[in-house]
Symmetry: D2
Subunit: 387 residues, 4 copies
């Protein structure tokens, strides 16, 4: 049986819960994983809350200061599931202590921080991985393989949106995700990071960008206390929303393809609609996270009388990525399984001393694109990402 | 330029309007039609109403007695678009006068009438065709071709429904379609006839049946006057509904396939949902009239990683039936176009002296299946259609 | 923290894996569960294989004879995840030993066995539950609530299919599911049981039935060895398929509704298509397991200009059943989560001494319907289930 | 019965066929039209071809020089269905002769021409209308009404694409639509004009734009002869494609909404995918021309447990625009019906001396947006349309 590695997880709310599940489940479904994770220590500032979370999520120990966690010699892997402003300090300290690092996206709130994180991981020789979990939806991996195998031909178009609607109520309070100092940006870092990362993985590097950002609701009730997770109760006092509610941009890729990107939290009725379409000279693809077990595929074919997009139920263990681990065809998986897939590859990477994609470098490049969008929105110019 | 034929149409409401359009349009889109129809005489009992309809629909003359119409030597083709109880007398008289006949479905209200109509047409040597217009939806013709070419392999399953909801209001009045003496039956003859005809065309003859019929609303307001078409205003007095609101049956086909059939006017939200699915050893098909320009097609394929139903937009003139006549691919056609296709084939048939499918014999065989459903519903036995 | 209960699970393949996951996960997502399960003993005849499965799935002990397992005083709950022919002996012995029982569907291969199981559980005073896991898809629970709250009005129609295609290859071997002595029946018990159970839960008791069964491929290669799960490699010798490949039936419900049911393993391209539609006087519902996080809902409404089926993404913790336990809206769950929900209710039932639905009585009634289908297919008569 | 007006139509290919049908059909379905069109003269340069077209489409006379047609005193309405470079001269001459004008989109190839056309029509006091036929898809009119009635609240987002794939083959020849001197632009004028017009109608004026254009296939075989319509056979010699294959742009609206627009002829598998989504504070809409009889509608609602997009089949004569003229609900209409609707409103406008939308002014404003896209693509700046 494989060796084990002790994990220390910083953050215990939405992402903490999802990461915990990934560590708990990975070896039960992927028994060939090369390192088996031990849920060693869960870290958060509120001692009582973190203890309750540890009990629920299956962690042995708790810790209230991430500095002690990253210094704990028992821990081999540090998982950073906190708001973006703390990613850099935690990661740099973890690297300094020789810990491997698994970091939530976006990698950092600034390019400078991201570069420091890369340098820290490199000089320490530790594995670093960013949790762009949508890379490991089986349907997305199938898309990647179809492209890499040339089955779509030359790619002409990328067309992606990530649409949500959870803050459309003007009375929704000023949570951390709406404050620039903590979140770095609004939809750009939260949703835009995902679709930029997918675009880079599937179509390649982005060379130039024009875009805009918009904040539809400029003042919101200041938060009193928290109910955790994404929801929260607001009070009487109003505060300024310092991040974007929506961001739209056009891009040219190094390959010659062109792309559209749009992210918003103001698309009524769109709960978690992360969707892309790719058009190539020989075929097209469509994906939508709300139906994440499906990929729509159009391939050039001699049977022109039946040309059309196929709705592929991506759940066939004999041909579809990661599916051997799960159930017979047609028994679909859910959102959190993408974390299990990611952690599986992470642990194999740690065992082999290789950082799996999305690497910190991928994280930086994604961040550079988002930074370019913000600069373009400000300057009203086409700008190039500063890789 | 082709010769012309004078048409006499009996009936000027819903079907009369649709048939008129077919005659008007056919030569404009199918200039190769072998006989060009002239809209000669429109017939209905209400002189004023039929005159107004003739003006709107483009008919030269009007007539209030079908007996005169079928005796008019100027007329070459008689079109019967009346309720079922008058099909047989009109058709038999038309045949006796040597007229070609185009008859609305169902062919007749009884098997005996249908047999008399066949005999009359045969002995007169006239062309007879039943208007099963859904045969000539391009997507349905594509389905037929895929099956005939063996691309679905051996057919195992037929699964069809025709669902509507236009009489669910208990206050909807007792229109002629709800009275057995005029309509013959309820959903069976109106909707069931369509899906039985499609089943016969696509999968072959039905050998044995078990079924049930149901009338959910047994009393309705007696009709006062009429607003024409399908809608109508009811009064205070109640009368008995003498036809079925729904019919469900199972069937075995001569080919070894098995089938389910369901028709109802009590499927809330289903406006005109005429849908079938066919499963064969090598592929499957799905069709739905509300999206009549599409056919969903699953074909066995070596590319098992992208197996899935294709949504085929059946609108490509270079490969799809009847489409050369219309528009560039993707510019969809509507429901009434099926009448234009049918009339195109009818007129070519008349020119050649051949009765195109659905022939009167097809009409009889369809009727025999519906008759078997009614007998089975009564006897609670499996019964065989009396072809 | 809640008390614990030791579980003994018999069966370690497809269902064993799914049940194991449910026990492991339940308290992590439903921390209020009233009894926390301990994965105590896994049982199977092949010592080596069961040990490997136990290691993978997280069971402490293994056992190769279910008789020892049901006699083990440490165990409080016996989970029967074996083929149908062994359900009765294991359950009766478990009850005799005072164990609570969780049994895979169908409850038994014969009505007589089912009745004995009910008697055994009753006389022992133990909790008994059948794993009709599709009851606890959140979308299905939402359907149930909409009906119970009268939002669909009077139910007129039930229309259900469960379509698969995994044995269409004539060379697929004669696995246990294709042998009557082990499986009891083919699609009827495997797939039909699910849709009958859903029909009973949503529309009520079935009073009378007419149906047919069909075996399309009558001889298959005899199995040599096994690769486990649903797939298997066949050899040269041929053996008789003794179960149905497809079953179709019509039913009348006590409520006055009528229904169609169809199950098959010969619907090319339909991987795991468990789907139903319900039409009531005020609304309609559609569900499809391959998109199990969605429910299509049509409700009568004063806004007739926007009448139409809504595609409801059933993932909102504030209003949708079981969703509080999982993720923010739009982050979908998978097939195995239905087992977690079922086990949550099971454990609460055990804690309270109440058998949750589906009870053994539900299992018997479902079995009686399937039995009626088989009798009707034989006698070619309408028959009544023998409840 | 209404007075008549003699129509002279210039152009007899794809658009000529569609316009002819509209004139032929309008009074048969809209008997209340205030002027009944007479198909008087069809005009084209090839005498033989135009004669054949006139025979097929139902025109009495033919003409080979549009100058004679616009001077013909018998003609009251001139319909311009030619490539964009001839719109201005024909329209200006027609106005000078006091003819009412119906002009294909885009109004002109340059803003200057468009302004001259407006001036000519104004000084002549004639009715001028641009054929943006997609305005009169019933589903689009329903969208308009929902927005105007405030049922979507404040509009935040417009998201539109018009995707085709008919010139993806590099051997597809250099037809007039690919030559700037005749077509004015590529996808911008052909497809972009449609979605800009819809955006203006539904969301209001566009104030500023950033965009790009791209030509993927820069050289194509020079055309030898023509097969008419959209298809054509190419020869050996290569020529330069002087228009865009794709155009992408972002826009801000005067209302505060933001929008994305994309048009391309390189979206493999997208036949005629003209689609938009609108998100407002209280609801959202989705439309797709390939399913033009449907509108997807999300409206805020107290029934939060069934929140979701409704698929509305826009075919109900009692509540949906233009539907009274056609068939019972659920009997869908096709693409060419939008021309019939447009011509109905045009003829009523002529009867009343009022230019219906899209007016020439609308045509100019649309053109100004497209011009801004081209300027932005050149300058790489945000630019404002020059209204």
């Amino acid at each position: 049986m494989a060796d084990t590695i002790n994990v220390g997880l910083v953050g215990y709310k939405f992402m903490g819960k999802a990461h915990s599940n990934g560590y708990r489940q990975v070896a039960h479904f992927f028994p060939d994983v090369k390192l088996r994770p031990v849920l060693h220590t869960l870290c958060g500032r509120d001692a009582e809350a973190v203890r309750a979370a540890a009990d629920q999520f299956g962690w042995a120990e708790v810790e209230t200061d991430w500095r002690r966690l990253v210094a704990n010699p028992a821990i081999g892997l540090v998982d950073i599931s906190t708001p973006g402003d703390s990613h850099a300090p935690i990661a740099i300290a973890a690297a300094a202590n020789g810990k491997h690092i698994f970091c939530e996206k976006p990698l950092a709130n600034t390019l400078e921080e991201a570069r420091q994180m890369i340098a820290a991981a490199q000089s320490a020789g530790v594995v670093g991985m960013v949790n762009f979990n949508y890379r490991r939806v089986p349907a997305v991996q199938l898309a990647k393989r179809l492209i890499e195998d040339g089955r779509l031909g030359t790619i002409y178009h990328w067309r992606a949106v990530y649409l949500q609607d959870w803050i459309m109520d003007p009375n929704f309070p000023l949570v951390w995700r709406l404050q620039k100092d903590q979140a770095g940006s609004g939809t750009l870092g939260d949703l835009g990071a995902h679709i930029v990362d997918l675009a880079r993985m599937l179509v390649g590097e982005i060379t130039t960008i024009t875009g805009l950002t918009e904040t539809f609701i400029k003042q919101r009730p200041v938060l009193e206390g928290t109910t955790g997770g994404l929801g929260a109760a607001g009070g009487q006092q109003m505060g300024e929303v310092t991040v974007d509610d929506a961001a739209l941009f056009l891009a040219r890729f190094a390959s010659g393809a062109v792309g559209t990107f749009e992210v918003t939290r103001f698309a009524k009725g769109r709960t978690n609609f992360n969707s892309f379409e790719i058009n190539g000279s020989k075929g097209s693809l469509r994906f939508n996270l709300e139906r994440m077990n499906e990929l729509e595929v159009l391939l050039e074919d001699e049977q022109t009388d039946v040309a059309g997009f196929r709705t592929v139920l991506v759940s066939n263990g004999s041909v579809h990525p990661y599916w051997n681990a799960w159930w017979p065809a047609g028994h679909i998986i859910g959102w959190e399984h993408t974390f299990t897939h990611t952690i599986y590859d992470l642990l194999n990477g740690v065992a082999e001393g290789v950082s799996p994609a999305a690497t910190f470098e991928d994280g930086l490049r994604c961040q550079a694109v988002l930074d370019a969008v913000e600069r373009s929105a400000g300057s009203k110019q086409w700008v190039e990402p500063e890789y």
